[in-house]
């Protein structure tokens, strides 16, 4: 059997988690490699969780929040974005390929967009192969 | 094949080293090696870092003399960024350096070296240490502990930290001295000056009188010397001045710090992580043969006492005169490092009091504003263990692109190696040796205060 990546997706209760629900209702298919963790806001996700996931065997980590300007809590997704730019760079510092991390925006009525994000990420990670924890950068 | 005696580790020194004595079939010394076993690579890992952070990183080269690295680096970064600290900024830095010298000298002489003298070189290894002194001479022990602590606490009270300081900053100093602090420091410096005079008397009585002859043969080699002297008077200087390189015959060359590479080369042997600086400008190459050394000079207290034309403070100058009367200039016996150390102790106490009495010491203009820029800066101070050279090159963002460090101790690695060889060769004959003999070989190293 080929490599089946494990991807952690932190989904905001108000948008992407709801979109995932709607994807189900609409029977939209996406790869089974994603494990959704429900959070109240993308701004709740401490970057430590991203790193913790990668260091414990996740092959990819996604944070999915509401479109900018549509945060349920005013500007939580902007905080998530600010952190995200930072995470992307820090992953390099920490020796991980930053392509293993992504942030995206999906509204609650965009199950297609969510499924596409899941599919793209899974494909991307599949091509990259698993994280080598001894040498996460894959040099 | 003969056997190898390994003194591992060399104890009661700062740092990681061992001695390997190779005996031939007859049990005579065939060769000795002073292995410096530790290497951390500061020169490399400071690369890329913002230069203003360097004074706070390089302190970790040595936990005993962190102030020296702190200030040498501060000076180097000042030079690279092209800033000159205001007078009070430089003054406060020098005061801290002097205070750090005080603790360091007490530590070295009394905590590390004295057990050999107070308890004797042949005393049992398990008691031949500062705890042994505590038991054998509790009053003395209490006094030295207190005095060393006082030096440390003076630093800590004024500059926040005694170990791994932070108050020296590019462009000057991070905080001004308050009038009240000045008075307290003056008072405490007076106490330390009294102690330093006592220490020299104590050593003259109990050490030099007793052991001078014993150690005559032990580790004595003939070399040149390197130190720092006042630009105009040629007097002993620790914080700032110009470098003076003296040949064994007493002839001197003076040079400015940033041209040090014209005068000093760094040699590497496969058996030591410690690089061995040598006098490149003598153009005689490098040789560790005690019989025909080449390029070898020494640094540290004895070297400074030898190269200076005098000392600017009265009591120390008096002690220097007495010393020169007895041992000449340059004095070569390794044990005299201890003597010179105590003369220097008096000097630093006197000097610190002198500086504290200058009016500008409480000036609040203590730091010049610096901007990151490309440049090169060499910062040199006299550390307890020798001339300390920090040399940095920065890029446009003021980040380090190149670093070269010559740490005080390293000047003496080659001489120490030679002293060990000299001591071992003269002490071990026909395979006969014991703990006491091995300790005497180590004492040759301890004199240098590595």
């Amino acid at each position: 059997m080929g490599f089946e990546p494990k991807i952690i997706a932190f989904c905001c209760n108000w948008c992407s988690y709801a979109a995932a629900d709607l994807a189900g209702t609409s029977r939209i298919q996406y790869p089974h490699n994603v494990r959704i963790i429900r959070v109240m806001c993308s701004g709740m996700v401490h970057p430590e969780l991203v790193l913790d996931a990668l260091s414990h065997g996740a092959d990819g980590v996604m944070v999915i929040g509401c479109h900018l300007g549509e945060c349920h809590y005013q500007d939580g997704n902007h905080k998530a974005l600010a952190r995200s730019d930072m995470i992307t760079e820090l992953l390099d510092d920490m020796g991980y390929e930053n392509e293993r991390y992504s942030i995206s925006w999906v509204s609650s009525s965009e199950p297609d967009r969510l499924a596409r994000a899941f599919t793209n990420m899974t494909e991307r990670i599949r091509k990259m192969g698993p994280v080598d924890l001894q040498n996460p950068a894959g040099q | 094949m003969g056997k190898v005696i390994q003194i591992s580790p060399i104890t009661r020194i700062e740092g990681h080293a061992k001695i390997a004595i190779h005996l031939d079939d007859r049990g005579d010394v065939r060769d000795t090696f002073l292995h410096i076993t530790s290497l951390r690579g500061f020169e490399k890992f400071v690369e890329g870092r913002p230069a203003e952070e360097i004074p706070r990183i390089v302190t970790r080269i040595c936990g005993i003399c962190p102030w020296m690295h702190h200030l040498a680096a501060s000076k180097a970064v000042d030079a690279a960024f092209g800033v000159t600290p205001p007078p009070a900024g430089s003054l406060l830095r020098e005061i801290c350096q002097l205070l750090a010298h005080i603790s360091d000298k007490i530590l070295h002489f009394f905590f590390l070296a004295a057990p050999d003298f107070v308890l004797g070189p042949d005393a049992d290894y398990s008691v031949r240490n500062v705890m042994g002194i505590v038991k054998a001479a509790p009053d003395l022990a209490a006094r030295i502990v207190k005095m060393r602590q006082l030096g440390q606490m003076m630093l800590e009270r004024f500059a926040g930290r005694a170990i791994h300081p932070v108050a020296g900053v590019v462009g000057g100093f991070s905080r001004p001295m308050l009038e009240q602090e000045r008075q307290e420091l003056l008072r405490d410096a007076g106490t330390l000056l009294d102690f330093s005079c006592y220490a020299l008397d104590f050593a003259k009585d109990t050490v030099f009188a007793k052991y001078m002859d014993v150690f005559q043969e032990m580790g004595t080699i003939t070399t040149g010397f390197l130190g720092t002297v006042d630009r105009t008077s040629g007097a002993l200087r620790l914080y700032d001045g110009r470098q003076r390189l003296m040949k064994a015959d007493g002839s001197c060359t003076n040079f400015e710090g940033d041209s040090y590479t014209d005068h000093i080369g760094e040699h590497v042997e496969a058996w030591s992580f410690g690089k061995m600086p040598y006098a490149k400008s003598w153009q005689e190459g490098f040789s560790l043969d005690p019989a025909a050394p080449a390029g070898i000079y020494r640094a540290n207290t004895l070297a400074r006492i030898n190269v200076c034309d005098g000392i600017s403070t009265p009591r120390a100058q008096a002690a220097l005169e007495e010393f020169r009367m007895a041992f000449g200039r340059p004095a070569q016996q390794t044990i005299l490092y201890h003597y010179a150390r105590l003369i220097e102790l008096i000097y630093v106490c006197e000097r610190v009091m002198e500086l504290l009495q200058r009016p500008e010491v409480t000036d609040t203009r203590i730091r010049a504003e610096a901007g990151p820029k490309a440049g090169r800066g060499v910062g040199i101070v006299e550390a307890p263990r020798g001339t300390l050279i920090h040399d940095y090159t920065t890029d446009r963002n003021g980040c380090i692109t190149k670093a070269n460090l010559i740490v005080g101790t390293t000047h003496n690695i080659a001489p120490m190696h030679m002293s060990v060889k000299q001591a071992a060769t003269s002490l071990i004959r026909g395979g006969v040796y014991d703990q006491g003999i091995l300790n005497r070989i180590e004492m040759a190293v301890r004199a240098y205060d590595p």
């Binding site: 430590e48 730019d85 510092d93 | 905080r175 080369g265």
Partner: protein, 314 residues
């Protein structure tokens, strides 16, 4: 009954040992009554390879407690540490090098082997190869002690606070749990704090902080709020002397994180950068963010920057 103690130092600078001495006068009763130190290279002459240099394997005496400073960077450090673990009932990691790699672990940012090669290839050095005779071989990187052996007690600090060392030694001698700080530097920092929101960029420490030395530090605005990178929030408390602010803050200098992360497994760089980014502070204004791991680069946190081909971004 005094407890038998052994001290060793690995990839260290001896600052920890000086910190022990800086316990001051209280040290005398400690070493003469509570502790029976049987091995400590900096202070006494017990040798690892026998007093007459005849041994071939590292010998550490059996002891109730072992105190080890410094991280692990070469085979000799590792041998000594393993011997310590074997012989000591309770093993204490003293100082941030031992607990988190410390400053020397900065080398992990470029690779230990590469770095050592570089040291011997500086322009001032005569041509040579890396010494390898009678000197221990380097490991692949600098490790904290707990990466190699079990550590029973962690006492970070660069240097550790003498008062805390005394507390730990006394507590161990008395057979109780030592009292150690569990919060960040900010806990002991009394400066004025009003929120970080006004700061948009981190300034380099090229000018002094705004404060009046005549006034108590309580009147000084938080250095982070003055725009300086101060790592107090992500650094374990402990540097402050009793009743005083943190040692660097006290002299108007921002914290650089020398006690390592607040939680032992924390990541100072990540936590600090995150706190900045979350507060809308441009994280790119931090000139050298990897320096935020300057005290805690072991545990695989500080790694060699990889060079890899730029991938097409979709």
């Amino acid at each position: 009954m005094a407890v038998r103690a052994v001290l060793e130092w690995l990839n260290s600078c001896s600052g920890c040992e000086i910190a022990i001495l800086n316990i001051g006068e209280a040290l005398i009763p400690l070493v003469s009554e509570h502790l029976d130190i049987v091995h400590a290279p900096i202070l006494m002459d017990h040798k690892c390879l026998g007093q007459c240099g005849e041994g071939s394997e590292i010998e550490i005496p059996e002891a109730d407690i072992g105190i080890v400073s410094g991280g692990v960077a070469n085979t000799e450090h590792l041998e000594v540490l393993l011997a310590m673990r074997e012989k000591c009932r309770l093993l204490i990691a003293l100082g941030t090098c031992a607990t988190h790699g410390g400053i020397p672990a900065l080398m992990n940012g470029q690779g230990l082997g590469e770095g050592i090669k570089g040291v011997f290839a500086t322009s001032g050095t005569d041509p040579c190869s890396v010494p390898d005779v009678g000197v221990p071989a380097a490991l692949d990187r600098v490790y904290a002690c707990d990466e190699k052996v079990r550590i029973d007690l962690f006492l970070p600090g660069c240097p550790p606070n003498p008062a805390l060392i005394a507390e730990v030694l006394t507590a161990v001698a008395q057979g109780r749990d030592p009292v150690q700080p569990g919060k960040s530097v900010c806990d002991t920092c009394q400066v004025l704090r009003e929120g970080k929101g006004a700061v948009s960029k981190v300034r380099r420490f090229l000018v002094n902080a705004d404060y009046n030395a005549e006034e108590p530090v309580q009147r000084m605005r938080c250095l982070l709020e003055q725009g300086f990178m101060c790592m107090g929030p992500v650094t374990a408390a402990g540097c402050a002397a009793a009743g005083l602010p943190p040692s660097c803050i006290r002299v108007g200098v921002p914290c650089r994180g020398c006690f390592g992360p607040v939680r032992r497994d924390g990541n100072q760089m990540l936590d600090m950068m995150n706190a900045l980014a979350s507060n809308g502070i441009d994280f790119k204004s931090v000139v050298d963010r990897r320096s935020l791991l300057r005290f805690s680069g072991a545990h695989g946190l500080l790694r060699q920057i990889r060079t890899r081909p730029v991938r097409e971004r979709g």
